[in-house]
Amino acid sequence: MIAVIGKKVGMTQVFSEDGSLVPVTVVQIEENVVVGQRTKEKNGYDAIILGADKIKQKRVIKPVAGQYPEGIEPCRYLREFRDYGKECAVGDKLGVELFDGVGFVDVIGVSKGKGSQGVMKRYGFGGGRATHGSKFHRGMGSTGQCAWPSRVFPGKKMPGHMGNVKRTVQNLEIVRVDQENKMLLLRGSVPGAINNMVIVSTAKRK
């Protein structure tokens, strides 16, 4: 697996070679730095730690700044990736060029928060009639049976907080790898708001 940390820039459309319009999400991938490594002997598993989006040294408290190896600037985002598909050492820089020749990717992001929502929006319940004397419009209806089981089963779909959770979108096609502008064009949508951090990795199921 190959993965990097990127930023969602927004959506637009481009023309493909045959002249059809393709909806794309632009993901900016600034240079990622290998900040640390985990090894089987020492930690029990193999992984690398990637950092992205450099921040000023003085904005980091000392206990955090001390974790970075010498010569590496502190980063806003740090993520550990297990069993990385590329050999790298601490201090290596990774970017969009990793995705040259890759067909499909998975994208992980935090979806937009929708606040407290009812069951129609949250779970797609049908709701009731709007007119003809109906008094049941957007409610959730029955929550279960009567004497048995005398309770509501755990996991019953009910109104509540929606969105603002980690989501993965699988198998997004790479339309273009733009090395000059350090960005990827992916066909389709990506979870989260503009400027959100996303993790782009090679597709698991392709």
């Binding site: 820039v9 927004g10 637009t12 459309q13 481009v14 023309f15 002249g19 794309v24 273009r176």
Partner: protein
């Protein structure tokens, strides 16, 4: 936003033909049939333009066998081989949807002619 524009840049046609609302235009549109490619011409009045950037579109209306036909083209589509301006129109609005309700002579757009000055 800057990056979005850069992403779109490759899809935007360069040296585009300039035309305005109300102009009679001939749109040469490439049609791919299997392996062969041919060019079809759609001639009519440009009655609307929408959006900007890659998403820009324009609508051309013509009367074909007494039936009004409208077709909306993406302005920057690579399938557009050429846009020819046949005649410039003199109009006072940006959307000519009123033409849909007119028949015959009323559905015409006046031609824009060079302004005559006193000396001429």
């Amino acid at each position: 936003m800057e990056l979005l524009k850069k992403a779109e840049a490759s899809s935007i046609r360069e040296n585009v033909e300039e035309f305005n609302i109300g102009d009679s235009v001939k749109v040469h549109y490439k049609i791919i049939e299997g392996k062969t490619e041919r060019v079809q011409v759609f001639e009519g009045t440009c009655i609307a333009m929408k959006n900007t950037g890659v998403r820009k579109t324009f609508t051309v209306r013509k009367i074909s066998y007494n039936v009004g036909v409208e077709r909306t083209f993406p302005f920057h589509s690579p399938k557009i081989a050429m846009i020819e301006v046949v005649r410039q129109g003199k109009v006072r609005r940006a959307k000519l949807f009123y033409l849909r309700d007119k028949i015959g002579k009323g559905a015409k757009v006046k031609e824009k002619r060079p302004v005559k000055t006193a000396k001429n």
